[in-house]
């Protein structure tokens, strides 16, 4: 049987990040405020994490509010019509509904309806996973513009008495518009997962245990030492592979933007990579805290807003976290 030749998407050669948008929680939470329940102090928290304050959202500011604010900024800066958005990818672990997705509601709120919209669950690696997918969708010709959002309201899932991770966490959303480009703007992504450490970071219990009364409200937990070792020494290897895949050397970078997990991880990772002093290392964690999927775009946005880095420079971005999942790529700064 004969049939007409199928049409397929017409690929475009390159993609790039057009713009970023950012929203942080409306409350500035000091170390003193979180130190009491964990029998700690401002000094202890600063020394061990580098955090001075973290931004958290008040009860009236939802994850969706922050995502909408960050998305609208990115759309405006990109100078595109939201109706041109061909996919909305929302990375989050704190959307309070198992279904429907946060992305579908966000698409409606920002005027991108009827864009395809879906959430991804890759925790602190989620934004870099989203950029990888957006890059593929744009270059394949499947979407003209893609909105990638990393957004979290982690303060809904913390235990003030937990000494492993809760006191690090903040709330926020970072957004990026990715679209076609005449020149290369996003390198190959080095990404993956290691489920042998599935228990190293995550929730304290499942929803079924909560339903059955065998657990209380699930909150975030981590095995700090296991995560630290993986985040520094394994992620240093991933970062080196990402640079190699991009065809660039450390000295070619304007910035390194890691997931803002803990200053000790960021500093040790920079040391392992032997970054020259000319490379600006993002340290948004100091005043924002660890915002999981939002941390990479928030940190990059902050560097651009402060003028520490300039549009057109190269940045290595790397996300890593629960799964354990990781993703890294070199991007041209928007």
């Amino acid at each position: 049987m004969t049939h007409p030749e199928l049409k397929q998407y017409t690929p475009v050669k390159y993609s790039r990040i057009y713009s970023l948008g950012a929203a942080r929680g409306d409350l500035v939470v000091t170390n003193e405020e979180v130190a009491g329940p964990i029998d700690s102090s401002d000094e202890w928290i600063r020394q061990r994490t580098g955090i001075i304050t973290r931004r958290r959202a008040s009860a009236s500011l939802s994850l969706m509010d922050m995502a909408e604010q960050a998305s609208n900024e990115a759309i405006k800066k990109a100078g595109i019509d939201p109706q041109e958005i061909g996919a909305v990818i929302f990375s989050t672990i704190t959307h309070p509904h198992q279904t429907p997705s946060a992305a579908a509601l966000l698409a409606e709120k920002i005027g991108a309806n009827p864009s395809p919209a879906f959430d991804i669950s890759a925790a602190c690696a989620g934004y870099c996973y989203g950029v990888a997918q957006a890059d593929a969708l744009v270059r394949s010709g499947m979407a003209k513009y893609v909105l990638v959002i990393g957004g979290e309201k982690l303060s809904d899932f913390i235990d003030p008495t937990d000494r492993s991770i809760s006191f690090l966490l903040g709330d926020g959303a970072g957004a990026a518009i990715i679209g076609p480009s005449d020149t290369p703007g996003i390198s190959p992504t080095v990404w993956g997962s290691d489920g042998s450490h599935w228990d190293a970071v995550g929730m304290s219990a499942s929803l079924l245990e909560l339903r059955d009364g065998t657990a209380t409200w699930p909150t975030l937990r981590q095995e700090g030492q296991t995560v630290f070792r993986w985040a520094v020494w394994e992620m240093a290897k991933v970062a080196k592979r990402a640079l190699e895949a991009a065809g660039v050397e450390p000295e070619d970078l304007s910035a390194m933007v890691t997931h803002q997990a803990n200053m000790r991880i960021i500093d040790e990772l920079a040391k392992q990579l032997k970054l020259p002093e000319s490379v600006v290392v993002a340290r948004d964690i100091v005043y924002t805290g660890n915002t999981s999927a939002a941390s990479v775009p928030l940190a990059m946005h902050a560097l651009l807003e402060s003028g520490e880095v300039k549009s057109g420079g190269l940045a290595l971005q790397i996300g890593f976290g629960a799964g354990l999942a990781f993703g890294a790529q070199v991007v041209v700064l928007p």
Binding site: R48, E223, G224, Q225, R229, W233, N262, E268
Partner: protein, 82 residues
């Protein structure tokens, strides 16, 4: 080449000094990493990874919590390289 116990202690003391600034001579077998030397869990992990490199041994995550004193670490490393 296997390191003797005194070489492991000296090497470990050097690593501890580099990570924390604690004088190498304070790193003695009976000293507790946390209580006596005031080394936190993150610094401890950096010391462990550097010790793995230096002595060519594997120190699994689940073993780290058993290394209470400097002597525990020296014993573990010494037997792991044997």
């Amino acid at each position: 080449m296997a390191f003797s116990q005194s070489e492991v202690l000296a090497g470990l003391a050097e690593i501890v000094n580099e990570e924390t600034g604690i004088a190498a001579e304070s790193v003695q077998l009976e000293k507790s990493f946390t209580d006596d030397l005031d080394i936190d869990s993150i610094s401890m992990m950096t010391i462990v990874v550097n010790a793995e490199d230096k002595f060519g041994v594997k120190i699994p995550d689940e073993e780290v919590k058993n290394l209470i004193t400097v002597g525990d670490a020296v014993s573990f490393i010494s037997s792991a390289q044997a």
